[in-house]
């Protein structure tokens, strides 16, 4: 009898180890791909696809922390991105010798404070009505940066131009450099985020999201958890905003971080799968790549026959329909799809 049990547990152990080995192999593969990418793809892909992908994914991680893990509805991510971008720029303007990464961190910090401030109402307001707070943030901050010239260095037009990208003496201003800088910023923060959600803080958040009253009774510090969610989520958005402004566009005006952008980040987080670690990356990939892919495919096939304006509108219809279709088929997002695919893959691989 005991021998049977131990035999059973041994084969399970072996299965576990094999699965872990597969996971590690996959992670190594992805990492190797990420490192080799600049040599494999063109400048266009690096500077116009990968960099925005990384920046948006980072912002979506922030959104995910607040809405996916802590369950607090926030539609102001773009405002917090804006705060991060402007704070980083202003620090650099007044203290030119400051290292770039420090100004990024500073941008994130100021965004975190702002986020916590606008997260205070979550202590009193519940459910869908909470959008009022982050919506107020979205519009107020957009107005503030447009109105008060000091934030944009008192330039007449209110557009700020990014400073040169130099970290530790290395110049990051080539397309490859932009990519490396983004990777340098995003990967550690993503890993940090993963550890956060798998640790005590993440558990507190999920308790608040799923059973707030029970959590409060049991002793989970729900108020602190909520504020922390807003603060940390906004930190991520702030750094993403600075990255977006410095490494991608090279300029930023307040209207670049408008409600449409907030919806886009929310979109990415939900489409990717709320409450998942890899979701933001999948969602960002979809949102960045799909319109371009559609443009290329449709344009190549039909561009010579159909009026471009009509084509563009049709693409808009297709994108919207696809979103609806996707939500119908898999409301839990791309992460769930990926998880299912991964499980299948493992099963196939392990059966060999």
């Amino acid at each position: 009898m005991s021998t049977d049990v131990s035999a059973w547990s041994q084969s399970e152990d072996v299965k576990m180890t094999r699965k872990t080995a597969l996971s590690i192999a996959a992670t190594v593969l992805v990492a190797a791909l990420a490192l080799a990418l600049p040599r494999l793809v063109t400048d266009y892909v690096l500077s116009a696809i990968l960099v925005p992908f990384l920046a948006l994914a980072l912002a979506a991680i922030g959104q995910n922390l607040v809405t996916g893990y802590a369950g607090q509805l926030s539609v102001g991510s773009a405002a917090f991105m804006s705060v991060g971008a402007f704070a980083a720029y202003d620090l650099h303007l007044h203290v030119p010798s400051i290292p770039l990464l420090v100004s990024f961190a500073f941008g994130g910090f100021i965004a975190a404070v702002t986020g916590a401030l606008f997260g205070l109402p979550s202590l009193r307001i519940r459910g869908f009505y909470l959008v009022a707070s982050t919506l107020a943030a979205q519009f107020f901050i957009e107005w503030l940066f447009t109105k008060v010239g000091w934030f944009s260095g008192n330039s007449a037009s209110g557009v700020i131009m990014a400073p040169p990208l130099v970290v530790a003496g290395l110049d990051f201003s080539s397309p490859g450099g932009h990519y490396w800088l983004s990777l340098l910023v995003v990967v550690p923060l993503a890993i940090l985020g993963r550890n956060l959600v798998q640790g005590r803080v993440g558990r507190a958040w999920m308790a608040v999201r799923d059973m707030e009253i029970a959590a409060a009774i049991v002793g989970v510090p729900t108020r602190r958890a909520k504020l922390l969610a807003f603060a940390i989520g906004s930190f991520y958005c702030g750094v993403a905003g600075a990255l977006w402004a410095f490494a991608y566009l090279g300029t930023v005006e307040p209207h670049g971080f408008d409600l449409d952008r907030s919806f886009q980040i929310l979109f990415i987080a939900i489409l990717g799968g709320l409450g998942s670690v890899v979701g933001p990356f999948l969602g960002a990939a979809f949102v960045v790549l799909f319109p371009i892919a559609l443009d290329n495919v449709a344009g190549g096939a039909l561009g010579s026959v159909v009026d471009p304006g009509l084509l563009e509108n049709v693409e808009k219809i297709i994108f919207g329909s696809l979103v609806i279709l996707f939500l119908v088929k898999q409301p839990a997002g791309l992460a769930r799809l990926a998880a299912i695919a991964w499980t299948r893959l493992c099963r196939v691989a392990l059966r060999e």
Binding site: T42, Y44, M161, G250, L289, A293, N313
Partner: protein, 468 residues
């Protein structure tokens, strides 16, 4: 679950396909534009035979500004089509183009720029024409590094007029400061002389965006110099609510209102003016509040409204007539709605086309009758000298003003005319009104040199270059 696997696989393959296509050669990934009315046949753009010049078009045909975009790019494309059809290209070099939809969104403009800057089928890119302030700002550094001229006709960053600091940026024909100065001069004219402006009240109603705010300092300066009282009121984007702003205007009781609008802000401004009883002919619109699309939704409230224009609308110009004969009549016109032929935006596109092609022509005189690189076309732009005789040759006499660009002056024009809406069309009601360029130049240089210092750039030595 079957569906999810397929979905994931197709997503991945699309991603791979997009990412791995060699974009820099600009081959089959680019959308070849259609110069057709839908359903009437294949594209009329010639495939490259090794002798074509490429114009990437960051157009917008979707979204809130689609009306302006379709008009402008329609005119631009039709003019290029004319050059190909009537003249067999520029000295034998045919023109080709492709469109990339930006929807007037900055990052799409940047993505389109990166996608198209490498050329099309081996034809090199001559210049970029995004027709957007936001996109232009984002491209300033990139265009300068990649050595492709960035054209911002009638708009843009004012200090980019100084070509010594901004070698690749061209705010052709009219920069925002010139526009403001010309409007003030016109108001002075209507008042009987700029000295009569003393003590008058002028309200500037501007769109809450970098474009709208660009002229705040210059208006204040002109107010100080000429003695009028300027109140500058912001209308938050998008501008569909202006009640409070116009109630304030009613309290101020100004003599004139200058409208620096964009999109929906324009018709709403005119309607709101009517609501408070402010006369439409004392509202002077700037160059982005001057099209048929801006006044039509206002209905009767727009009658009498005056606006700036760098070129009249209408079909009574030789080049427009030629387009009608060689492009539109054979069914190759780009406009979906033929009624818009000859409208303000359409004609702006034609003028833009004329200047872009002229730059190529001028550059070919120096570099040879072949497809040129962006750097060579830049030389062409800086040596454009279109006088009345040349305007006659181009068929644009009366449509365009004479323009002379140079290394230090990337604007070239600076004069405007004023037109009035009569309910059905725009009628030109003034002669050319010049801006006060002598006043503006030192301010422009101060700003551009400050930019050069911030960026660590050395301004070009135009005289030394001219000697080369």
């Amino acid at each position: 679950m079957h569906h999810s696997r397929i979905a994931l696989l197709s997503l991945a393959s699309i991603a791979l396909l997009t990412a791995c296509r060699p974009q820099n050669e600009g081959t089959s990934t680019d959308k070849v534009s259609s110069a057709t009315v839908p359903g009437s046949g294949p594209a009329a753009t010639p495939k490259s035979e090794g002798k074509t010049q490429y114009f990437p078009l960051q157009s917008y045909r979707v979204g809130p500004y689609a009306a302006g975009g379709t008009g402008f790019f329609g005119g631009f494309i039709d003019y290029m089509q004319l050059v190909n059809t009537r003249d067999s290209g520029v000295n034998g070099v045919k023109l080709t183009w492709s469109e990339c939809e930006t929807e007037y969104v900055v990052e799409r403009g940047v993505e389109c720029y990166e996608r198209l800057k490498g050329g099309l089928d081996g034809a090199p890119a001559a210049a970029m024409n995004p027709l957007s302030v936001g996109i232009a700002y984002a491209l300033i550094d990139r265009a300068t590094t990649d050595k492709i001229p960035l054209i911002t006709i009638n708009h843009g960053r004012t200090d980019s007029t100084d070509g010594r600091v901004f070698p690749y940026i061209f705010p052709l024909v009219l920069n925002p400061y010139s526009e403001a100065s010309a409007i003030v001069n016109y108001i002075g004219q209507r008042e009987g002389g700029t000295d009569h402006l003393h003590g008058k009240k002028i309200v500037v109603l501007y769109h809450g965006s970098p474009y709208g705010k660009e002229t705040i300092p210059i208006i204040d300066l002109l107010a100080k110099n000429l003695g009028f009282v300027a109140t500058q009121i912001e209308v938050p984007h998008p501008g569909s609510e202006q009640q409070s702003q116009w109630l304030q205007i009613r309290q101020i009781k100004p003599d004139w209102v200058i409208l620096r609008g964009w999109g929906i802000m324009n018709p709403v401004a005119l309607k709101s003016a009517a609501k408070i009883g402010f006369p439409a002919d004392h509202v002077i619109g700037n160059v982005w509040s001057n099209s048929e699309e801006d006044v039509t939704p206002a209905g009767a409230a727009g009658t009498g409204y005056v606006s700036v224009t760098t070129h009249p609308s209408g079909r009574d110009f030789d080049v427009i007539k030629d387009i009608e004969k060689f492009v539109v009549a054979p069914g190759k016109g780009n406009l979906q709605d033929p009624k818009r032929f000859g409208s303000v935006y359409y004609n702006l596109g034609v003028v833009n086309g004329i200047l872009n092609v002229e730059a190529v022509r001028v550059a070919q005189r120096k570099y040879g009758k072949r497809p040129l690189t962006g750097e060579e076309v830049r030389w062409g732009f800086e040596h454009i000298d279109v006088d009345d005789a040349r305007l006659k040759e181009l068929g644009a006499l009366g449509l365009m003003q004479p323009i002379k660009l140079s290394c230090t002056d990337h604007e070239g024009g600076g004069a405007v005319r004023f037109q009035q809406w009569d309910g059905k069309q725009w009628k030109v009601v003034s002669d050319w009104v010049r801006s006060d360029r002598a006043l503006l130049r030192p301010i422009i240089e101060e700003s551009s040199l400050k930019y050069a210092k911030e960026k660590g750039l050395t301004p070009r030595d135009c005289e030394a270059e001219a000697r080369l």
